[in-house]
C-alpha cells in the first residue's frame, strides 16, 4: 500500500510488537521510514508512537539496551550517556527516543558503523534488561499468585465468591495475561542473548507483520479487562 505522508505533519501509530522485540521494532521503524514516516524525537508515550512525515528514505534504526535505571528522582536511564551520544553522532547515529528498556537510534547513512560491533559484548548489554525483567516476573508471581493467598489466608475461593463471578473472572484473566507477558518477555530476552552469543546476530523472525494482529488483540483484550475490572 503506497500511501503518501505529508512532510512536517504528525502521525500516530501503535507499535505492532512488544518493546523487548528488538529485531521487529527495528524492522518496523525502518519499513515506515521507507514509506515516509520518521519516528519523532521522544516519540514513544503511553504505548503510542509519534511519527513525522518526511521524504521516504532508507533508514537504519537500532535499539540499545538501557543499562541503568535508577530511582524516581534520578536521571539515570532517561537519556543516553553524553559521551556515548557524541561518539554515536560522529558515526552518523542520531538518538531519537526511548521505549521502555531501550534507547532508539537511527542513521540515514547506509555505511554507518554499527552501534554494536561485537556480538558477545552486545549480548552483555542485555544482562541489565534481563535482570529487570526477571524482577518483573518475580513481582508478578508474588502479586498475582502469592499475595491473594496471603491476604485471604488461603481462602481464595471464598474471596472469589465474595467478589462475584465476573469480577473474579476478569481479575483472573488479567492476572494470567500479565504473568504470561512478563514470562514471555524474559524468555525472549534470553533467546535473543543466546542467539547473539552463538550466531552473532539477533535478527531471527524480524518480520513484524507476522504476529502483529495477535499482539494487538492480546493488548486490546488486556486493556479492556483492566478498564472493565473497576466497574464490575
Amino acid at each position: 500500500m503506497n500511501r503518501t505522508y505529508v512532510p512536517g505533519k504528525t502521525y500516530y501509530r501503535l507499535p505492532p510488537c512488544p518493546a523487548y522485540d528488538i529485531a521487529k521494532t527495528e524492522s518496523w521503524l525502518s519499513d515506515l521510514a521507507e514509506e515516509g514516516l520518521f519516528l519523532a524525537k521522544d516519540g514513544f508515550f503511553a504505548g503510542v508512537a509519534t511519527f513525522e512525515g518526511r521524504e521516504p528514505a532508507h533508514v537504519k534504526y537500532r535499539l540499545e539496551a538501557i543499562q541503568k535505571i535508577d530511582g524516581f528522582f534520578s536521571n539515570a536511564g532517561l537519556e543516553p550517556d553524553e559521551e556515548q551520544l557524541e561518539l554515536s553522532e560522529k558515526y552518523s547515529w542520531e538518538y531519537v527516543a526511548k521505549r521502555k528498556d531501550f534507547f532508539i537510534y537511527r542513521s540515514l547513512d547506509p555505511d554507518a558503523r554499527e552501534l554494536n560491533t561485537d556480538p558477545e559484548v552486545h549480548a552483555l548489554t542485555l544482562n541489565a534488561v534481563k535482570k529487570r525483567q526477571r524482577e518483573a516476573v518475580c513481582t508478578a508471581v508474588f502479586l498475582l499468585l502469592l499475595y491473594p493467598i496471603l491476604i485471604t489466608r488461603g481462602c481464595v475461593l471464598l474471596m472469589t465468591i465474595a467478589l462475584g463471578t465476573w469480577c473474579a473472572s476478569l481479575g483472573f484473566l488479567w492476572g494470567v495475561l500479565t504473568l504470561v507477558d512478563e514470562i514471555v518477555a524474559f524468555v525472549y530476552l534470553k533467546k535473543t542473548q543466546k542467539c547473539l552469543q552463538s550466531e552473532g546476530h539477533y535478527r531471527f523472525a524480524p518480520d513484524w507483520r507476522k504476529h502483529a494482529r495477535s499482539y494487538f488483540l492480546r493488548k486490546a483484550m488486556k486493556n479492556a479487562v483492566a478498564v472493565l475490572l473497576p466497574f464490575d
Partner: protein, 106 residues
C-alpha cells in the same frame, strides 16, 4: 558454548586494553586509537565501546581518572595489565601452535 565474559577477552576488549597501555584516554580517543592501530579492521561501535568501558570499570581493569564535562578519561589498572598480558600470552600460543601445525610438527 559461549565463553565466560572476562575469562577470555574478545577482540574488541583486547584492543581497548591495548589502547590504554601507554596513556590515559577518553572514549573517543580509544575508538580513534583502535581504528589507527588496526587500520579499520576492528571497527569499534559506540555501544560496544561504552559497554566494554563500563564492564572493565566494574571488573577493575580500568579506572576513571578525570571527568571534564561530558568527557571521561580512563587509565588501565594493574589488574587490567595482567588481563592484557595473559591474553597476549594466549594469543601468542595460538600462533605458535598454528605454525607448528603448518610445519607438520603436530
Amino acid at each position: 558454548m559461549p565463553r565466560k565474559s572476562m575469562v577470555i577477552l574478545t577482540e574488541a576488549m583486547f584492543y581497548v586494553l591495548m589502547a590504554l597501555q601507554k596513556n590515559e584516554m577518553c572514549g573517543t580517543d580509544i575508538a580513534d586509537a583502535i581504528d589507527a592501530v588496526t587500520d579499520g579492521r576492528v571497527p569499534m561501535g559506540p555501544a560496544t565501546l561504552y559497554t566494554i568501558l563500563a564492564k572493565f570499570e566494574k571488573e577493575k581493569y580500568i579506572k576513571e581518572t578525570n571527568v571534564e564535562g561530558r568527557k571521561r578519561t580512563y587509565a588501565i589498572t594493574d589488574r587490567g595489565r595482567e588481563a592484557f598480558d595473559a591474553e597476549l600470552v594466549r594469543l601468542n600460543r595460538c600462533i605458535q601452535d598454528a605454525k607448528r601445525a603448518e610445519e607438520g610438527q603436530i
